[in-house]
Symmetry: C2
Subunit: 147 residues, 2 copies
Amino acid sequence: MLTKESIIQQLRERGLKVTPQRLAIIDVLVEKKHLHPGASLIYEEAKKKSSRLSLSTTYATLNEFARHGILRTLQFDRMENRFDLNPEEHINLICEKCGKIIDYKLPATFDRNEVTEKTGFLITDARLEYYGYCGACIHDKRHGGPS
Amino acid sequence: MLTKESIIQQLRERGLKVTPQRLAIIDVLVEKKHLHPGASLIYEEAKKKSSRLSLSTTYATLNEFARHGILRTLQFDRMENRFDLNPEEHINLICEKCGKIIDYKLPATFDRNEVTEKTGFLITDARLEYYGYCGACIHDKRHGGPS
DNA sequence: GTCCTTGCAAAACGTTTGCAGTTCA
DNA sequence: TGAACTGCAAACGTTTTGCAAGGAC
């Protein structure tokens, strides 16, 4: 699920068209996946590969890919959104100084001390969020606006 | 750490001025803390209490409070930021339908099945992030820009 | 009196939209 | 051919900024 070929195959399976712009974006996503790049970086890098590319197409493509589970959108405080090609659930270890994002595989039960022992990453703050349906909404899962 | 008085005390301890605008914002934060309100709602509600209040002051105040650890800023996909007065680390259970945010106390080791058993919240997606310092930055913790 | 805080207006920022033209299947 | 995709420019909503006036301590 992490190579260019496998992503192209996913597009075909889902009836999405394979265009030069999308190929260039996929190239960048795969090459720079450890960087978790933002839309502007993806746009700049992909434009080098396919000169016919606009920023709005980059956004449209990334949103389409997210909608199909090919990647995941990460939001940050005072940083543009960044994109995560790894579709499996994992912890993102985010460096407060350099902005690096380290992936850490997520077990159903985990111990944060273990994270530090295995990666050397010093945890100073946690942001843990589960998304889903609360007891009141669990029987009516249509997506509505926040109240 | 959750009453109006305790927050005012924190301001005094930190040399921050106690103004009518800040009192109104604190009122709203305390009254609506279970709602995790966004800046626009905080502004509207606080304006009812203190008619001399601008949106930019609301932002300045919320940022100042966040900087001092009085609250925490939460970012969302296609929703404005919302603010969390609970300074202890916890999991936010976010309903995909109604936008409700349920706090769940965070143990060092936890099991996501336990979350569902105890709250009835059906987890469909997880966003788990630890912030801190990676091995390369751990000895030089000044805050720099992301690279 | 001093520095912090405020309000206003304008700008910045990342992102989305409408629409006409183009391209992939 | 026809639906999907693209580029452009303009709009959007949230958040930040510069600066002069005001208020807390």
